[in-house]
Amino acid sequence: MTRFILIRIVQAAFTLLALSAGVFFAVNLTGDVVSFLSSPQDTPETLALMRESLGLDRPIWVQYWIFVSNAVQGDFGQSWTWGRPATELLLERLPNTLKLAATGFVLTLIIGIPLGILSAVYRDSPFDKIAKFVSVLGMAAPQFWVGIMLLLFFGAYLNWLPTFGMGGPTHYIMPSFSLSLFLIAGMVRLTRSSMMEVLDSEYIKFARVKGTREHLIIWKHALRNAIIPVMTFAGISLGGLLNGSIVVEIVFAWPGLGRLMLTSVTQRDYAVLEATVLTAGAMYILMAMIVDILYAYVDPRMREE
């Protein structure tokens, strides 16, 4: 097990290094930074001086090395559009995204799992039909549109909820719901099918024959076995939250990482772009690693490779 964990950590480190190289070379080999900073009146001498002051006259490998060693120390350079260190901006925005994602994740668990269980237990009841409709709708409706429709109805029309930015707890309701609807839908669907499969199994039939009370069968015998694929899905869905939060942050003007990332793309703010993309990538790689390790812990067959 220790060996497995070590291998996964080394793999994660290499993946991150590959990502950093990809992002760095892609950004630096394709766009001429100086052309964005200079004005047409600048003489060639000024441009050369600019290049030198930015360290752009050095070989690209040296630049990459400097970039990595600075990044490891938490320094991604200055943001041109904000005039502040990119790391500072990153640290300001990152917690907001994490808060939003965490709320969305909790919603997914506390709505999705019970809905899926009840839907499997009361198969073909009106409740099951409603749960099915929710899951079909949630899988098909684009997140940004769900957000905008919520804004239209609860924000503009009913005027019940705040429509943009961060603030009190009410600010979280619409963004976290539009972020998690897709995952809730997947969770309901998966929990339902997993639970149904278990409920049809021999040992549940045996428990019934034995005369075990129904609520014990459902909550103790069946749920424990049905929960394994559900937990896997929960792990994978964390990556989906990251993807979705970019869109949702735009819709609700949420001051998070995703919005910072998008503005840095449109403004070609390389320092911020590199900082945000690498952070998001690192978060994803870290989560995938943790899920892998947890999975191996639960299921020893996964350790062999």
Binding site: V136, P142, F144, I148, M149, L151, L273, G281
Partner: protein, 301 residues
């Protein structure tokens, strides 16, 4: 030797293109009840995409200030209303079907070809090749697509090609994973071993003996992923990554309507509704196809 040979012949699947193969497949599909509602919606999308110029009552980019801000059903020459520049919503949505279908199909097609190739090679070769290819696949599978799209658009600039690339770059991994799983089940069957003993080259074995056995799975994944690809394309165009402002794309239309949510609710509502319905149709159809062709797959997809 002859016995092995005969065995191999009899167990080899008929060619994919043969009539017998096609008819048995068609019979199996028709045996289940057809989901008509999704099929009709899908057909409408395809027809709109192909015949957009013939079907659209107006030019989608035509600015007509005299009829701007018309609500749906107010003026029958603009049944679904107009936007702030007087562009016809219905025409824009018909052309949007074209954008969406084109991007999704090309991206999915490219992803399918590449992913299937990786899956076939990985599953058949096994050992080191398999380990390395599957590590890469795992990394690509979970990597957030929007993040990938942002990187690609930053590097290569906007444009339809780059949206397609961004989708294909992450979608191929799903094909690779599933196809590999299927290959593992086939690779040690007698007809493959027989072919190997008789000296058939690995490429021919994969093409003639293994590939025909994974076509079912391929078809199913392909249909199941159409919906998700359309959603992705819509999200990317909503964020303005890749398409020029003013282009007729569903996601972009929702984004443009966002600024006029209160005065012109239909601008965002209608294209979003269309996306939802179309994705729903493809999801339903994919589920149905999977259940009728290969119920075993239910758990794994």
């Amino acid at each position: 030797m002859a016995a092995i040979f005969n065995d191999a012949e009899s167990e080899t699947q008929p060619s994919v293109l043969s009539l017998k193969y096609a008819t048995t497949r068609a019979k199996r599909i028709l045996a289940a009840r057809l989901p008509w509602a999704p099929i009709i919606i899908m057909a409408v999308v395809v027809i709109c995409a192909i015949f957009a110029p013939l079907l659209a009552p107006h030019d989608p980019a035509d600015i007509e200030l005299s009829v701007r801000k018309l609500a749906p059903f107010d003026n029958w020459s603009y049944p679904l209303g107009t936007d702030r520049l007087g562009r016809d919503m219905l025409s824009r949505m018909i052309y949007g079907a074209r954008t969406s279908a084109f991007i999704s199909l090309v991206a999915l097609g490219a992803g399918a070809v590449f992913g299937t190739a990786v899956g076939l090679v990985s599953g058949y070769a096994g050992k080191w090749t398999d380990t390395i290819l599957m590590r890469i696949t795992d990394a690509a599978m979970g990597f957030p697509t929007i993040l990938a799209a942002m990187i690609i658009v930053t590097i290569m600039g906007a444009g339809i090609t780059n949206i397609i690339l961004a989708i294909a770059v992450t979608v191929w991994a799903r094909f690779a994973r599933m196809i590999r799983g299927e290959v593992l089940q086939v690779r040690n069957r007698d007809f493959v071993l027989a072919a190997r003993i008789t000296g058939v080259s690995p490429i021919m074995i994969i093409w003639r003996h293994i590939f025909p056995n994974v076509i079912n799975t391929l078809l199913i994944i392909l249909t199941l992923l159409v919906g998700q690809t359309i959603l992705l394309e819509a999200s990317l165009s909503f964020l303005g990554l890749g398409l020029a402002p003013g282009a007729a794309a569903w996601g972009l239309m929702v984004a443009e309507g966002r600024d006029f949510l209160i005065s012109m609710w239909w601008l965002s509502l209608l294209p979003g509704l269309v996306i939802t319905m179309v994705v729903m149709a493809f999801n339903f159809f994919g589920d149905w196809l999977r259940d009728s062709l290969d119920p075993k797959l239910r758990r794994s997809i």
